[in-house]
């Protein structure tokens, strides 16, 4: 009998190269996993993967769609990275996105028929404030009542969804809309400018890019960013250093709420142009995957948002060509996170192969 001897050792320090290589490993493993699933379901795996990951971005329109989907994902994930870095588990970004959309959409309806350069900035600002307010609920409950932020932020997602549903069915529904659950189409002055004729890519991408740059500045060049990182690494150290823990919780929630609210308002003034029941295909939840895949790093998150946006597009293409349901994208999103989290084991533990040894039976 021969036995392969494997020894697992705890690493003393995390190797930076592995830290940024494991996401690529996770994507690779996801592709293999996806091929296996397609094969089991009776598809040609290579062809199916091609429909999923190549066909959608093989023309200009596809590339524009990729950016349209990556824009909100990246924005929300950037905000979440502040929370996750400081060990605050805001998983209700979907609710903050919807509430930002509600507030922004309400203002847009208020300005219905108004022209003027000031309309759009006011709408965008109010959307950000809406997301911020909604994120403040779990933050304040956590700081003053010691309430678990995971559960509160999650419960609020459903409250926001139901509020949106109430508004578009009831008081805000289009008076000339034959009782469809949707508001009026916003005026032209309330819409994000389209960047190229015939494509859907809109000015929201500049908001996202500006936020990425700002958050890089805050995280890596300011004392606040340093405090956030330290409290994420060790709460005890942060307390010992005298950081105001409560203020920090509020700040990171405000940042991530504002980002999610901006994403929401970007969607309704950009590609959608009105409020209806489904203003987000779960961007708020998927952004959690983006944040992890991007290693909570602003540049990493840009790349991660493109990868995850591709799973959305791929699912749409595959739905047309392979007649698979649109939820197929979620299989890939789930797998990416599984493999990424799993491969993190390599960060903290060394696996040593001690060679083969003959065992006597």
């Amino acid at each position: 009998m021969e036995a392969l001897l494997i020894k697992v050792e705890k690493r003393n320090d995390v190797s930076p190269s592995i830290y940024f290589l494991t996401p690529i490993l996770a994507i690779f493993l996801t592709l293999i996993g996806g091929a296996i699933i397609f094969y089991v379901l009776g598809f040609n795996p290579i062809e199916a993967l091609k429909f999923f990951f190549v066909t959608p971005i093989s023309d200009l329109y596809g590339l524009s769609e990729l950016l349209v989907k990556a824009t909100p994902l990246c924005l929300i994930a950037i905000g979440l990275s502040f929370c996750f870095k400081s060990n605050n588990w805001n998983i209700g970004a979907e609710g903050q996105l919807i509430f930002g959309g509600i507030v922004g959409g309400g203002v847009a309806l208020l300005f219905y028929g108004h022209d003027g350069f000031y309309v759009l900035p006011i709408i965008i600002l109010s959307g950000a404030i809406g997301g911020m307010i909604f994120a403040l609920i779990p933050a304040i409950l956590k700081t003053y009542f010691n309430t678990n932020e995971i559960l509160v932020s999650l419960m609020l997602v459903y409250v926001a969804k139901l509020l949106l549903d109430y508004l578009v069915v009831g008081p805000w529904s289009n008076p000339e809309g034959f009782n469809f659950p949707e508001t009026r189409q916003f005026s032209e002055s309330a819409r994000m400018p389209i960047l190229f004729d015939g494509l859907r890519i809109h000015a929201g991408i500049f908001i996202t890019l500006a936020t990425v740059f700002l958050s890089w500045l805050i995280l890596y060049k300011t004392y606040l960013g340093f405090q956030i990182k330290v409290s994420g690494l060790s709460l005890k150290t942060a307390k010992y250093a005298g950081y105001k823990g409560k203020t920090m919780i509020i700040i990171v929630f405000i940042i991530s709420g504002a980002c999610a609210g901006l994403a929401g308002v970007g969607e309704i003034t950009g590609p959608i142009g009105q409020l209806h029941r489904n203003i987000s295909p779960d961007y708020g939840f998927t952004a959690i995957i983006v944040a992890f895949l991007g290693r909570l790093n602003p540049v990493g998150i840009i790349f991660a948002s493109l990868v995850v946006a591709l799973t959305y597009l791929g699912a749409e293409t595959a739905q047309i060509f392979l007649q698979v349901p649109k939820y197929t994208g979620q299989v890939f999103q789930g797998m990416i996170l599984f493999f990424l989290l799993g491969s993190d084991y390599l960060l903290f533990f060394k696996i040593k192969f001690l060679g083969l040894r003959k065992n006597e039976l």
Partner: protein
């Protein structure tokens, strides 16, 4: 509208039926959480149970196999979660979310060929008693065996946790895995078992939806019930009996909505639907501000990663 006493009985019966998936999933998750593991994958495991149960029913034409199969598939998918969080020490919150996202996607892929197929009639017990006994008949009789099991489960769970040695071990692992480990308890084994049990119960909850409650397969048919079940565990402050009460309240609100529309009351249904979530937040605030209250039943190590140096 006349105040028919029999109608009230039927209403109560309907409330009970709509609370069954919540009770099953919440009781499963309660055991998982009591061992110190926070599994946010309830929704994913439920929907996998729903499609596997329905698919097995269509393929084998055997309801017994379908129910057992749904529990097994819930269990199998929870192995992914157990493996990652317990053996590869991943973050519980992120892994659970991945499980839910993956489960919803996977169930839609498997269920592609089962959309639009009519379900089979599930045998109901004591149907003649339901008709003949006024008021109490529709409450106590004419239900499926899974409903009776679900209403027994909180009491069984309570007995298990409070009065058995295994229950004590589960609680010990949840409160302090390190001390439990020092006492010679195999923490990993206990947590794996609790996660797998939770998975099986969520699978059964899903099967109740696709085989009995609305006997068909619809994409995303659990519709957030998994998240309500999660909220319910906290709402009940980790006590099985309170899970039962909470599930009846949550189920009651669902039924109330349906009937309020019929009666024509002018309260928006969305407000009613939001009530369970808002109530959960309020309960969370009330139990969390008093540290003694929350310490009473909360598994102290909930969601923390346990690593034993070898």
């Amino acid at each position: 509208m006349s105040f028919d006493i029999n109608f009230i009985g039927i209403l109560i019966g309907a409330v009970m039926a709509s609370s069954v998936p919540l009770i099953l999933a919440a009781c499963g998750e309660l055991i998982t959480e009591r061992s110190g593991v926070l599994n946010l994958g309830v929704e994913g495991m439920m929907i996998i149970g729903a499609i596997s149960g329905f698919a097995l029913m269509v393929v084998t034409d055997n309801l017994f196999l379908a129910v057992i199969g749904s529990m097994l598939s819930g269990l199998i998918i929870s192995i992914i979660f157990a493996l990652l969080t317990q053996s590869l020490l991943t973050n519980h919150v992120a892994t659970g979310l991945a499980l839910t996202i993956f489960g919803i996607g996977m169930s839609a892929m498997i269920g592609k060929n089962f959309v639009g197929i009519p379900g089979k009639e599930f045998p109901l017990l004591f149907v003649d008693l339901k008709e003949s006994v006024p008021f109490l008949g529709p409450i106590f009789f004419g239900h499926s065996i899974i409903l009776y099991f679900a209403f027994l489960l909180p009491f069984l769970t309570n007995y298990f946790l409070k009065n058995t040695k295994l229950g004590l071990i589960v609680r010990a692992v949840g409160d302090s895995p390190t001390s439990a480990s020092n006492q010679g308890i195999n923490v990993l084994l206990v947590r794996y078992s609790c996660i797998l049990y939770g998975g099986a119960m969520c699978g059964l909850a899903g099967a109740y939806l696709s085989l009995i409650y609305t006997p068909q397969w619809i994409e995303n048919m659990t519709g957030g019930r998994g998240w309500i079940a999660l909220a319910l565990v906290v709402f009940a402050t980790w006590s099985p009996i309170k899970v039962l009460i909470g599930a009846l309240i949550f189920g009651g609100i669902t039924i109330l909505q349906l009937h309020m529309q019929a009666v024509g009351l002018r309260i928006p249904v969305q407000l009613l639907s939001a009530l369970p979530y808002i109530m959960t937040i309020i309960v969370l605030v009330v139990i969390s501000r008093d540290s003694r209250k929350i310490k009473l039943n909360t598994p102290t190590s909930l969601g923390q990663i346990f690593y034993k140096e070898k």
